[in-house]
Assembly symmetry: C2
Homo-oligomer: 287 residues x 2
């Protein structure tokens, strides 16, 4: 399908999705997959283009997964604009949009949960304890529904990427999990659907997050004590105008475990979550 | 491969298994799968023959899954006899034996768990709370490893069959889950690898289980109050020589929920677990 196809099909059911993928398989095509919650921005489209480099056909899903939102979170107001998303996907080379209803994904009688220990411990889980349970189930389902050769996830949600990779490996889901670099605006702000919630003054604050992390990453790489690095970054974020910082932490890059000696001794990642007004932002960088 | 092939291959790794299955797929063959814990008897071989009816190629696995045994249970003494099992499988028409090590199934860093509510509640779970967690993970893994069109499970482990079916549906694992009827000896005793633990006098007791359940099933089908039906069956089992009865219960056949009005009002199943000496037996019948 061409880059600007106006006729990208939309599958609403798992059956329709599988029929399309089976057809491609019969013709010998490989398949890649990009799961999203819609409200697409250039970051998502980069994932779609990356997926297009890795397989003959690209499936993207748009599904705002209720099980990864807590009751007080923004499930109801999370931006939904399917027609716009579909046009963006088609333009980025997506061959099929899978956009199931909640009822198709979680029919009556649904009772199964998936828990991933290890990389899901701490960080996001300390503040959104329900989150990775919801992610693990919906991603397990989506991967099994699409049965792609490869699935592409953004490094923007780095802990999620580690959790998904661990789950897919542990459950032997036969889809390779690939991470793609975070896209940023000209000021270093990681692209996120939730950036749409930010006012102009909030945007100015949000754009400081990446710089604070970059500075802390340099100190961490320099083997400075992580407790001090994290404390300084925490107070720098508050000074920059963030109202609350959920965490700033330097962890081992592969399993997100803390460094036992309090200094970086292996590939590392710095991760943070902080609030601007009513909007919670996350970001991370390689150390 | 012929019914009496002496050359059935054995795959020890997921890679070797997948290579074999991929080869068959390329040749256009369909694939069925029978998971076992080995110590095979005629019941297992019936599942293998059933699998052979449903696909061109049959994979069977032999893996004594440690995560479904509690510390005090019989993991260490569970019978292991691979050469004998392999010969029996080949004779029943199995085309490939998958016999992984514990390290292949649960490598270092393994941290994922799968929980199935609904049909896993009560019955076995009241007495083996760890059991279905272990079953759900290993079956999810095996199904994803083999990627068969259909997998055949024995109705002997009826609650397990319902849990596996629910999990496969909830996680969209693309393998159809099929149940096959329980095989029994001439006295009605359900075939089980654990029957090998029974002495002759214990065997006489064990052979009463099916009769007690059959009689209770008739009463239940007659819409007698289930509390009385279950109580009578319970005491009949003790009279027959069982030392302890974990449960005798009549449940809805599809989701194993109790009947809200205490009488059978829909397709039903009677299920029991009881002890003869140190051996725990389970059985069940359609009502």
């Amino acid at each position: 399908m061409s880059e600007n196809s106006p006729s990208m099909p939309i599958a609403r059911s798992v059956d329709a999705l599988r029929t399309a993928v089976r057809d491609w398989r019969r013709q010998g095509f490989t398949v890649s997959f990009v799961p999203t919650m819609g409200a697409l921005h250039e970051g998502h489209l980069t994932l779609v283009r990356e997926a297009g480099q890795r397989a003959d056909k690209v499936v993207a899903s748009v599904f705002v997964n209720p099980t990864q939102f807590a009751a007080h979170e923004d499930l109801g107001t999370y931006p939904r604009r399917e027609a716009e998303d579909a046009a963006l996907l088609a333009g980025a080379g997506c061959d099929l949009l899978f956009a199931p209803t909640v009822g198709e994904m979680y029919p009556d009688g649904f009772v199964t949960s998936v828990a991933v220990g290890g990389p899901s411990q701490g960080l996001e889980t300390d503040f959104r304890p329900h989150f990775f349970g919801g992610v693990a189930v919906v991603v397990a389902k989506l991967l099994n529904q699409v049965q792609a050769d490869v699935a592409v996830f953004g490094e923007k949600d780095y802990q999620q990427l580690m959790v998904v990779r661990r789950m897919a490996r542990d459950l032997d889901i036969p889809t390779a999990i690939v991470g793609a670099p975070t896209m940023r605006d000209g000021h270093g702000l990681a692209l996120s659907s939730r950036n749409a919630y930010l006012s102009e003054p909030e945007l100015d604050v949000a754009r400081c997050l990446n710089g604070v992390l970059a500075e802390a990453a340099i100190k961490a790489a320099d083997r400075r004590p992580l407790a001090a690095v994290e404390r300084d970054a925490y107070s720098d974020l508050l000074k920059a105008g963030f109202e609350r910082v959920d965490y700033v932490a330097v962890r081992q890059a592969d399993n997100l475990a803390p460094f036992p000696n309090g200094v970086v001794e292996a590939p590392a990642r710095i991760l943070a979550a902080a609030w601007v007004g009513k909007t919670r932002l996350i970001d991370n960088l390689a150390v």
